[in-house]
């Protein structure tokens, strides 16, 4: 297992490099630039601006110095937020996004896994159908609709009740400001995890070793918790890798709707402003995060499945 893990870890470096390279040239080779504006800017000022941000150098030189700077965590200056470096912007926004994302993911696992098990234990019963319907609803309602509905209900309609929650803003991370965004972010994952869990639990319950455990006379809860759960969790763990990617996307929507100063919002604004360095910074960070999450998934595999530990592959 460790050799696989090490190999993946080493492979992460060229992967990241490939992503950085593609992203860099993709952004530079397309029409339009960060200093385009409707008002005509004098040629000298433009030239100065370009020199200030090294945009007048040949592309390969820009690329090499960007890579060089990355090696000591310098993502370069932001083109639009003139007084900030991208590193500073990310340092501000990333903790916020990370906290929300982690809360949402944990919440989704805590709710989704039991829901899936409950549905699997009573396959094709009304309870199963009810849970599946709720899960399907969570998947098909886009979170920007869900966000707006939550704001309408808790922010506006329940304005004078105890259940009133702020409709947006961050307020330095006050608990009340976090509830709606985290819930909104978590809902689709609750749904996905419940669905995956249901499917894998049904399959696991049909295996021979579970039948043996039952035949030994173990109680239903012991069979599920000690025998079935571990292997039924595998597909859920696999989902964690892609889930991180989805969470990042989801955070763009949720942070825009609830006006939260995280990196998802920076990415959207940065892309619209052609803020090359900011977009690159957020993309690189996200890619690193997804790669890291996939490595964690590999590790958890090893913990859950002895086969992975001994096979070496």
């Amino acid at each position: 297992m460790w050799s696989t893990f090490l190999r993946r870890l080493i492979l992460a470096v060229p992967t990241l490099w490939a992503i950085i390279t593609i992203c860099f040239f993709l952004m530079r080779l397309t029409p339009g630039g960060p200093f385009d504006s409707d008002a005509p800017v004098p040629e000298e000022i433009l030239a100065n601006l370009r020199a200030r941000y090294h945009l007048d150098e040949p592309l390969w030189q820009q690329y090499l110095s960007y890579l060089g700077n990355l090696l000591h965590w310098d993502f370069g200056p932001s083109f639009k937020y003139r007084d900030f470096t991208v590193t500073a912007l990310i340092a501000q926004g990333f903790p916020v996004s990370l906290q929300n994302g982690a809360c949402a993911l944990i919440l989704a696992i805590i709710i989704g896994v039991p829901l899936g098990i409950a549905a699997a234990l009573a396959q094709n019963s009304p309870r199963d159908y009810a849970i599946s319907a709720v899960a399907m609803t969570g998947i098909v309602i886009p979170n920007f609709v869900m966000g707006q509905l939550l704001i309408l209900v808790f922010g506006v309609l329940l304005k004078d009740s105890v259940l009133h929650l702020p409709a947006g803003g961050w307020d330095n991370g006050a608990l009340a400001n976090r509830i709606l965004p985290v819930f909104c972010l978590a809902l689709p994952y609750v749904a996905y995890i419940a669905r995956i869990m249901r499917g894998s639990m049904i399959e696991t319950l049909r295996t021979n070793y579970v039948r043996t455990a039952r035949a030994k006379g173990l109680s239903s809860s012991a069979v599920i918790l000690h025998h079935a759960l571990k292997s039924a969790l595998m597909p859920v763990v696999t989902f964690l890798g892609p889930a991180t990617a989805f969470l990042l996307t989801g955070s763009m929507v949720v942070e825009t709707i609830f006006q939260i100063p995280g990196i998802g919002r920076y990415f959207v604004q940065g892309a619209l402003n052609r803020d090359y360095t900011l977009v690159m910074g957020v993309t690189i960070l996200s890619a690193a995060l997804i790669i890291a999450m996939n490595l964690v998934v590999d590790l958890i595999y090893g913990l859950l499945d002895p086969k992975v530990r001994y096979d070496g592959e």
Binding site: T15, P142, T249, T283, I290
Partner: protein, 296 residues
Amino acid sequence: MTANEAMEATEVIGGRSLWQDAGRRLLGNKAAATGLVILAVVAIASFVGPYLLPWSYDQIDWDHIEALPPDIAMGHYLGTDSLGRDLLARTLVGGRVSLTVGILATTVALLIGVTVGAVAGFVGGRTDQLLMRFVDLMYSVPLTFFVIILMVLFGRNFTLMFIAIGAVEWLTMARIVRGQTLALRGKEFIEAARASGGSTPAIIWRHIVPNVLGVVVVYVTLTIPQVILLESFLSFLGLGVQEPMTSWGMLINDGAVELQINPRTLIVPAAFMTVTLFCFNFLGDGLRDALDPKDR
């Protein structure tokens, strides 16, 4: 009885093909069958409906701004939006765009995914290693980010949108097809095809691809709703098709702004989209059950 007659007799009895069998089981599944019917209705309404309505999607009725439904006399069956445009016409035209993007993008994903998967699985060796490492690499790319970058850089363009989304969604398809192909590769009929001199492309096209279609069909049905969601997400960020053209995502986004004044403009397109996505998911689940050989 001559040999010829004997052959005719067998033909009369006829066998049930995998697809006939699956079709029968699919129609027996109430949720999936209902889903199929509703999808057909939505599709026909979206593609034909706008021509039958008295108002077109971009026509402004200055006398009936935010008209309440049902305004039968004026032909605004579901009322109008804040600019006086007929809501039903816009929702149907939006559905046309969303469904088209969904289907085209999935077709792109299908073409790339099946080709890569089948070639990797069948040829094996270094080709397989190379292609699958590439798929692995793509999995760690924040792909939605790339779609957004592409949309921003090249402008809001319908063709680009479905190609970009399709180019992002093929990865899982490639993995699934490769897995199936690996299982098929050792089968006798492939060996027979090879022994009788079939070239690699011919074997992939004639023997591998038809045999992975079952899995692919299920995945396609589940990919279309994902693409529709992704398109609506892009529209939410302001990167969708251009006004006055519209899509469900754009309508929902416009409606969300007016949520407190005129909730109808959110509810109508959101209902259409949600129902469609529900139906695709039911259909996909039904197809999976219908095509699963374990259940036969």
